[in-house]
Subunit: 369 residues, 2 copies
């Protein structure tokens, strides 16, 4: 194999495929990066089995071939080389020569045959969505996925199409996040993608409006971004019927300024930090929400202006779950819907047309309620 490529192009490609190379695999070959030529194209691939990423790089190819080399070392060498053309060649089959200006590296190859075959996916594109929209949908839901593995299906994010909507849903038993976008597509999709791989996918997605084509198979999802293809395995099993969890009617409704409320809750949570529950109490009154917390460290009382429609209420929460939601939301004004001190709180934007997201947080039941 022999090719020439600019430092910038090669560095960007390595940066992309390294998202799939976790360095935590028990298979040493998965610390490698597969570099291969395909006619006039150079293709780099990284994989940790759950997630595989391949990307095409502009290069002048003089001799075809295919090698695997240590991804971390290769990445560091390319990053530190001068901003110029880089010549890469393998002559002996044992090592790869990297030449750039007066720098010359020979690094030992890994065994090409050990590198796993990527899942073959028939790209009958199922739907297409702008990169920035998908990136944002992931950001707005992924934080609610479960961290612990007791119910593996909850460590993923549900992708579903329903009634001309494309929905992403994550929940962990204490809170839920649902984001919907309109989609002109009749395919029925219902698949759960591991949050861990989705997190890497979202780092590769750009803020622009280029489309990403998405294909599903029974076990995999493929994101095709043109020069880059990302394949993630799906989680097995059925996702929770989340619709039955989200109440549709409420007895009171609070309109609040998101940032004011977030600041008050963050301050109140400083006092709640020495307990596991991060317990804060909300006293919802006419025009006013009073937030209190106390612990061995002392106590705190915060007040924030609100508009209340309905009856007054006292309710308690794990402050972390409210803070997560209020930080992810971006609009100025939000609506919190309640029914009782033991029913879920549902949080939405005041203007649902602007951003159709639904967040649900379970309250903490207090002994004296």
């Amino acid at each position: 194999m022999k090719f020439t490529c600019t430092k910038t192009n090669l560095q960007n490609a390595i940066f992309t495929v390294q998202k799939a190379i976790t360095g935590k695999s028990s298979m040493p070959i998965l610390n490698g990066i597969l570099i291969e030529t395909n006619k006039d194209k150079l293709i780099l691939t990284g994989s940790d089995i759950d997630l595989s990423i391949e990307t095409k790089v502009e290069a002048d190819i003089f001799e075809e071939g295919s090698i695997v080399i240590n991804a971390r070392l290769f990445g560091e060498i390319i990053r530190k080389l001068p901003n110029d053309n880089i010549n890469i060649s393998t002559t002996d089959g044992i090592s790869t020569e990297i030449l750039c200006q007066k720098s010359k590296f020979n690094i030992i190859n890994m065994n090409r045959n050990d590198f796993p075959e990527l899942p073959k996916i028939n790209e009958n594109m199922i739907f297409s969505i702008p990169e920035n929209i998908l990136k944002n949908m992931i950001r707005e839901t992924i934080f609610a996925a479960a961290q612990d593995e007791t119910r593996p299906i909850l460590t993923g994010v549900l992708f579903e199409t329903k009634n001309k909507n494309f929905n992403l849903v994550a929940l962990d038993g204490y809170r839920l996040a649902l984001k919907s976008e309109k989609l002109e597509n009749d395919n029925e999709i219902n698949a759960v993608i591991p949050a861990k791989t989705l997190n890497e996918v979202s780092k590769i997605l750009e803020d622009g409006e280029n489309n990403v084509d998405i294909t599903f198979t029974p076990n995999h999802i493929l994101f095709n971004l043109g020069n880059t293809k990302i394949v993630s395995r799906l989680l097995e099993g059925e996702f929770i019927k989340y619709n039955s969890i989200i109440p549709e009617e409420f007895t009171l409704k609070v309109i609040a300024k998101r940032e004011d409320l977030l600041n008050c809750i963050e301050r109140a949570s400083l006092m709640a930090k020495d307990s596991n529950t991060n317990l804060i109490k909300l006293n919802i009154e006419e025009n006013n929400m009073i937030i209190t917390s106390n612990s061995q460290l002392g106590m705190v009382k915060e007040e924030v202006n609100i508009i209340l429609q309905g009856q007054e209420l006292q309710i308690a929460f794990n402050s972390k779950y409210l803070i997560d939601v209020l930080k992810i939301m971006e609009e100025d004004e939000i609506i919190l819907n309640f029914s009782s001190s033991v029913s879920p709180c549902v949080i939405k934007n005041k203007d649902e047309n602007k951003n159709n997201c639904t967040y649900l947080v379970l309250p903490v039941r207090l002994l004296n309620n």
Copy 2:
């Protein structure tokens, strides 16, 4: 105690004294911040015994007093409060009330009497030096201080005055850093300050030309910055007679562009990383330095243009020590002085009038030398 203070002033003062509050002390009281009034002044103090910092804050004092409260909690509360006046008062002697707009905190006090007395230092100022110059002198030497405690005196930085020069010196048995500044002062100083506390001191020093007044006692050094006083203990014992270590005559001299050399050595060290010694070899030729390294990972050859005065030489180093020096230096052109493959390399700026620093690095003796 009762006072009002702006959020900004209070936050800056907490930030300063927290440098002395490591959170690692076995005495819980040292997690506290001492807040006391002294006539019309508010004074905050933090200490971990080795290092104590006190700073004055502009405040309106309505009632004198003195309390200790948890530094981390107090700092987080003040940081999260709105940018406005903050009212602080203790009424019951058990807790402290913090009021700002609609936020009200009551935090439990720590026992004031447990807080250690700071060393009393008679401030017969010994000399004065601009903050930015001292900050830079620390930066240029501290990295060479020993990390391990086998010879405790080497974990400090020597402050000495000699022949109208003020010198900072650090060494760890493998390399040495010496920085000199002219000083119009006849006091004889010879004291070793722990690198750990000096590191915190340098974070407080500003880049401006305000003077810092320095006083020494047999056991302490005091840095007086006007509103802030920093007291560090000194290390006991005598520093190594570093002068006898630095050779004064050399048989060859290399003039090199610092950044070019740094980049080549950094790249070469990528191959050296899997060994403990970070071994790189320098082949110093007429007009050219060839840097090589090899390991299980492969091998590398770098070339950099130099001007050589003297005979050709082959010498090996731990690349880390050369990289540390070349990164700390700031000038474009540097001089490396050598005598043989087993004698120290001494690195200086080409223009010594610009920045009078001396770095010494010991070579690695190769079996085939």
